[in-house]
């Protein structure tokens, strides 16, 4: 075991890790940040998405040691400084963008990365961007609505509704 250090949600942290320790395990077991979910552990589902140096990645498919020294942001770092929900999180609540909630951390992190690059995405762009995030409740329409609402756009009646 080796001490692996990085910055998580603005704080310098370190925890023991082996070579094989995944970033998802490092966050959850090493740091106790269990908001990052592990759905499939095969990089299909996207529940484990976090940001590494501003880029969304699937933390189950990255070794902790490979991102030592990086700036990592997880769902625990998404709320405002006063603890209130961020615009994006609030939009998920307002638009019923979660059902069981399991996929939500990954959905929020993937959506936040989209909005950082593309502040006013179209509905099609939102759907395309969330291709790597699976909602087992199949609640996609309201998730897409939430992202559009968070971008300050009118939320249309989405397709197939």
């Amino acid at each position: 075991m080796t001490k692996v250090s990085m910055t998580v949600n603005g704080k310098a942290v370190s925890a023991e890790a082996e070579g094989r320790t995944l970033l998802s395990a490092y966050l959850r077991e090493g740091l106790g940040l269990t908001g990052t979910h592990i759905g499939c552990d095969t990089s299909q589902c996207g529940a484990c998405v976090v940001h590494v140096d501003g880029k969304a990645v699937k933390s189950c498919s990255v070794f902790a040691m490979d991102v030592a020294g990086s700036e990592v942001r997880t769902i625990e770092g998404m709320a405002n400084a006063d603890g209130s929900l961020s615009v994006l999180q609030q939009a998920f609540q307002d638009n019923h963008g979660l059902q069981c909630g399991f996929c939500t951390p990954g959905m929020v992190m993937a959506s936040a990365a989209l909005l950082a690059d593309n502040p006013k995405p179209t509905e099609a762009e939102v759907r395309h961007h969330l291709e790597g995030n699976i909602c087992r409740c199949t609640g996609y329409h309201n998730i897409v609505k939430a992202v559009l609402a968070a971008s300050g756009q009118d939320v249309p009646a989405v397709a197939a509704e």
Binding site: E18, G19, R20, L22, D41, T42, S43, G46, V49, V52, K55, A56, V57, K58, C60, S61, V62, F63, M65, D66, A110, A113, L114, H129, E131, G132, N133
Partner: protein, 262 residues
């Protein structure tokens, strides 16, 4: 996953030295290797991360065409090659999903040579050069069948040089669950002729469709393919599609790529 020693060299010489140890395996973006290791299909003793080597990063025009550092991610290629080689940038932007594109790299894809990967078709259709720590390998000599390449033990791809065609496009038909290419075709029109490379379809991995190249070099239109057919005997036959289905896809997608080329 079995444990291993993790090393992350900051230059090519150190990486080559690390790769010389028994049971060493190169790690780039890891988007194929990590799932493979989780299934214990790969059990390296040492993993050599190639993502912290500055000379293996980045996209720039240079001698022979577009130089792409082997550890450059698909997302970076999609963005930085967009005006330099639009067909290649579009291919990179269509691999996997946004998170996979933020980790996966061109060198990793080309070294692995998955028969359903997108990049090998661009490398072969462009007539690209695979540059390693010891030599330069022409695309036509590099790909040697599914998961098989000209790379020697311990050899590291450092960059890939893509000649830029006048027009190009990549069109793939996604396998709907994995989103790997059930079949994908890259068409590249150069002043000297047209090259057509097909991924996802053949038991022998990525290949050039010579008849289509000849026809398209005379007449660069989908109509030029009308009289051609693809031999299904070497095509992959699995639950996602029969060999005949893939053979037909090769022709259909080649036509679509020609029409889409710009």
């Amino acid at each position: 996953m079995h444990n291993f020693e993790f090393v992350k060299p900051s230059n090519i010489a150190d990486a080559v030295q690390a790769m010389a140890s028994e049971g060493a395996q190169a790690l780039s973006g890891g988007q194929t290797l990590l799932p493979t290791m989780k299934q214990r299909l790969a059990q390296p003793e040492t993993l050599v991360s190639l993502t912290a080597i500055p000379e293996m990063q980045g996209v720039c025009m240079g001698e022979g065409g577009l130089h792409i550092g082997a550890a450059t991610t698909h997302a970076t290629v999609a963005q930085e090659a967009a005006s330099l080689y639009p067909g290649l940038a579009a291919l990179a932007g269509g691999i996997g999903d946004p998170m996979v594109r933020n980790r996966g790299t061109v060198g990793g894809s080309v070294a692995n040579n998955d028969p359903a990967a997108c990049y090998p078709s661009a490398v072969l259709a462009s007539g690209a050069t695979v540059v390693t720590n010891t030599r330069k390998i022409a695309a036509d000599d590099y790909f040697q069948g599914m998961f098989t390449t000209a790379l020697e033990e311990g050899e590291i791809i450092t960059s890939v040089i893509f000649p830029v065609p006048a027009k190009s496009a990549y069109v793939k038909f996604n396998q709907p669950a994995s989103r790997f290419a059930l079949t994908g075709v890259f068409v590249a029109q150069f002043d000297t002729g047209v090259r057509v490379a097909v991924t996802g379809a053949s038991n022998n991995g990525v290949f050039r469709w010579a008849e289509a190249e000849a026809a398209l070099s005379k007449d660069f239109s989908a109509a030029a393919l009308a009289g051609l057919s693809v031999d299904a005997s070497e095509m992959i036959n699995d639950l996602h599609g029969t060999a005949a289905y893939r053979a037909n896809l090769v022709k259909v997608l080649t036509g679509r790529a020609v029409t889409a080329a710009r």
